[in-house]
């Protein structure tokens, strides 16, 4: 059995102290027998102490007698009054006597002075910001860094009517390898060093000709808020090394080059993507895709921010889908009319996991003919079966493009949404949960954008939103009376499901507010960003809920990568297998989710 010293050394925030500071903390530690009577001794002495529970059970109670939290082994208390210097407002009710370790105020302050990590821990805990600590420690993996962060200069641009010679001069003066051609504020094309070599010099084109004649028209682009990983994907698909970067309003911002990306350190995702984009047959693509889980498993152990794995998986599924579509088009000719391949659910939200099944559909131009519909039916069958063979299971609920029900024109889709909104039956609410999270994966981005805006308008109905809120309010958060975990129990042990009882509820709440605000982004972090300043969520609650979500996602992916108990259902977490800090954080995260759920209930309660 561990000695007291070992026990303390493993308890946050003491685990972060230097050896000398730890010795100081340990040498000034006292064990206290905490009972109703001994508690009175402390009250009489007027002492403020820091407490760490070793045994026994205690409740933290407000002056009005309301129990706030049940304190058990490894819980810390007493620090708020130490930090503020004010007399503690809440009191400790002894349920069962036991031993607590204590430190006097001067020792506590000395440790805060000596160690900023120690100080920060209690400041965070006091501000109920325990979750931000876990997140701040993690450096953001470069693949999920937004492109805007590597844009080093504003766009070097000119009009497409500029002569080739003048264009080349601008490039030489600015020292760039590509030039953007812009007209009426719209990006018309791009000209690169290679274009000048292959399309101008090699072909003997006169330098006085306007650049429009030799530029790449309507080049592939990325948005500044997209990730570097997205940029890589697009480069790989189009086999280009320069990508114009646009703002959300389609303004031209600059260019991101493959060199910019390579300067970022990690290369694993690049290799994965290359392998996918180089596969020239369906079979080769599938066999490359089947290597992904193992690849990500080794990559995942090195990745700091596990939440980015969800994004990585979704991006790989995106790339895979696009490649299947390309291969199909190579065999059967290109699409007969405008369309968009849609992703729903976790892929759309960028929180895909290893077990996630497919959720997809097709958006077709309204003028599509019956014959053309047949082409899309074949495409859908080919792609969905391809994805299934590549390790992304078919959707048991049949929410897939290969189901004719989810292959609709914009008008048909909008009618379907109107139907759900007008009569929000339980089925309609569950459907809307899937379909309001969508993203364009392939095909026409413009068709999708226009359609998604219409859908946003349809969704903004008070009655519909109130019904969704009522549904969300019934979802159980596994936190019982006195802030204790409510675990499931079976022959495999005690566990709780972080997905259905945590992540999914946050997703639902954030989706609800997003629908209310007509936000069309699907990724949860993007939705949080867009919800800043919204009347539905204060910025502080926004931040807290985002941190709770990040923590839960982190925990889930971690549990999937390093599953200790194979017999338990996926997404299961056994609280007793977690570290003390993680257990505290998990409680804090569920607390935040529960509070957000209640706040949502109040906001929409009036409308019920």
């Amino acid at each position: 059995m561990a000695s007291d010293r070992d026990t303390l050394a493993q308890t946050p925030p003491f685990d972060n102290l230097s050896e000398a500071d730890f010795d100081y903390a340990f040498n000034h530690m006292q064990a206290m027998y905490l009972s109703r009577e001994s508690r009175e001794d402390i009250v009489r002495s007027g002492k403020s102490l820091l407490y760490l529970v070793r045994s026994g059970t205690y409740d933290l109670v407000t002056p009005q007698g309301q129990a706030l939290a049940r304190l058990e082994v490894d819980d810390l208390f007493g620090f708020p009054s130490l930090l503020t210097g004010r007399k503690a407002a809440n009191r400790i009710e002894v349920i069962q006597d036991g031993i607590v370790w204590t430190w006097e105020a001067d020792v506590f302050h000395e440790l805060r002075k000596r160690s900023t990590a120690f100080e920060q821990y209690f400041v965070d805990a006091h501000g109920k910001r325990l979750l931000s600590e876990a997140h701040a420690k993690e450096t953001v993996d470069w693949t999920i860094k937004p492109i805007s962060e590597v844009l080093r200069r504003s766009a070097v641009q000119t009009s497409p009517t500029t002569s080739i010679q003048e264009s080349a001069q601008i490039m030489a003066e600015e020292g760039v390898s590509s030039l953007l051609l812009v007209e009426d504020g719209q990006l018309r094309g791009i000209l690169t060093d290679r274009d000048i070599r292959t399309r101008v010099v090699a072909k003997g084109i006169k330098l006085a000709v306007s650049t429009r004649a030799v530029m790449t028209q309507s080049p592939a682009t990325v948005y500044e808020h997209q990730s570097l990983f997205d940029a890589l994907t697009v480069m790989g698909e189009h086999n280009v090394h320069h990508l114009p970067v646009l703002s959300k309003k389609d303004e031209v911002l600059g260019v991101v080059t493959v060199t910019d990306l390579m300067q970022q350190q990690r290369s694993e995702p690049v290799l994965l993507l290359n392998a996918l984009s180089k596969a020239t047959t369906r079979e080769a693509l599938i066999s490359e895709a089947l290597k992904i889980p193992e690849y990500l498993h080794s990559f995942g152990s090195r990745i700091k921010d596990n939440a980015s794995l969800g994004k990585l998986l979704a991006s790989l599924t995106d790339a895979l889908t696009r490649r299947f579509i390309q291969l199909f088009e190579q065999q059967h000719g290109s699409a007969p009319c405008a369309y968009t391949w849609l992703a729903f659910g976790s892929q759309a939200r960028f929180d895909q996991t290893f077990g996630s099944d497919q959720d997809n559909g097709l958006l077709l131009a309204d003028e599509v003919t019956e014959e053309q519909r047949n082409w899309f039916a074949k495409l859908a069958e080919d792609v969905c079966q391809g994805l299934a063979a590549a390790g992304i299971p078919l959707c048991p609920g049949n929410v897939m493009a290969m189901n004719p029900k989810w292959r609709m024109t914009t008008l048909e889709w909008q009618d379907t949404f109107k139907q759900w909104v007008r009569s929000p039956t339980p089925d309609a609410i569950l459907n809307s949960m899937i379909f309001f999270d969508s993203r364009a994966i392939a095909g026409s981005e413009r068709l999708y954008k226009k359609h998604r805006k219409e859908v946003a308008k349809i969704g903004k109905s008070d009655v519909f939103l109130a019904n969704i809120a009522r549904h969300i309010a019934t979802l159980p958060v596994p936190l019982g009376l006195f802030n204790r975990f409510r675990t499931k129990h079976d022959e495999t042990g005690e566990y709780l499901n972080v997905k259905t009882h945590g992540i999914a509820i946050v997703n639902d709440i954030v989706r609800l507010y997003s629908i209310a605000e007509e936000i069309t982004d699907a990724a949860i972090p993007d939705r949080f960003e867009q919800l800043k300043g919204s009347k539905w969520l204060t910025d502080r609650d926004n931040q807290n809920l985002l941190e709770a979500w990040q923590f839960l996602v982190h925990l889930r992916i971690h549990s999937q990568l390093y599953k200790s108990n194979a017999s338990q259902p996926s997404n299961s977490i056994a609280p007793e297998k977690l570290s003390t800090l993680q257990r505290r954080q998990l409680k804090a995260a569920f607390r935040v989710v529960k509070d957000a759920q209640q706040a949502m209930g109040f906001k929409f309660g009036r409308q019920l």
């Binding site: 040498n27 530690m29 006292q30 027998y33 009972s35 009577e37 001994s38 006597d97 031993i99 204590t102």
Partner: protein, 205 residues
């Protein structure tokens, strides 16, 4: 006034007295032959045990460890690297002179230490002794509990009060466990009334 006098005569408040929990590990249970292998002691300042001020000393001895090594987990090397018995005893004496001492099965530790002190020519006068084992027996008897062989062992007693488990048969760990048991016995039994020193000592005799 008379009540106050009576209270004073009873020794005053037990919480204001200096207390130490002490535990010895030895190479046998036969008091005539046993040698002290290690000593642990820790100050008790009700309701606290000053864990950080706990002391633990292994004593240098040239002897055969017999069977006891299995119990206290000290090796020959530990014993050979230990402190001279005289140094350890004088440290203990200095720390605890005039204090009240607490031990589990106190008669054993008391005799062992007293004999050793006397052999070194030291005068050691603790203010009194409290035996957590005897106290526990009294408490259980009053509750008409049925006692088994294990009922009065230190770890069993600690569990009864919901105290954390310690590695047993390490002199300091056992001294700490004993100190916590001592506090539990007083606070659990005192109810809301204030205990006088003599009441506490009477329980621990």
């Amino acid at each position: 006034m008379a009540a106050w006098k009576q209270w004073f005569a009873s020794g005053g408040d037990w919480r204001s007295k200096p207390w130490f929990a002490v535990d010895c590990e030895s190479n046998g249970t036969d008091l005539k032959k046993a040698e002290i292998l290690s000593v642990g002691w820790v100050p008790i300042q009700p309701p606290f045990v000053a864990l950080g001020k706990g002391q633990y000393q292994v004593i240098q001895q040239q002897l055969n460890l017999n069977q006891s090594a299995v119990v206290h987990q000290l090796t020959h090397a530990d014993i050979q690297d230990g402190e001279p018995l005289q140094d350890v005893l004088s440290q203990l004496r200095e720390a605890t002179q005039g204090a009240y001492l607490v031990a589990h099965h106190a008669a054993f530790d008391k005799t062992l230490l007293m004999n050793a002190m006397r052999a070194q020519g030291m005068v050691w006068q603790p203010a009194g002794w409290y035996d957590t084992l005897r106290a526990e027996r009294k408490i259980l008897n009053r509750q008409n509990a049925v006692l088994s062989g294990k009922s009065l062992q230190l770890d069993t007693c600690c569990q009864r009060y919901g105290l954390p488990n310690y590695h047993q048969h390490h002199a300091l760990a056992d001294a700490i466990a004993c100190a916590e048991l001592f506090l539990a016995q007083q606070y659990k039994q005192s109810g809301s009334s204030e205990l006088a020193l003599n009441q506490v000592l009477a329980r621990g005799q």
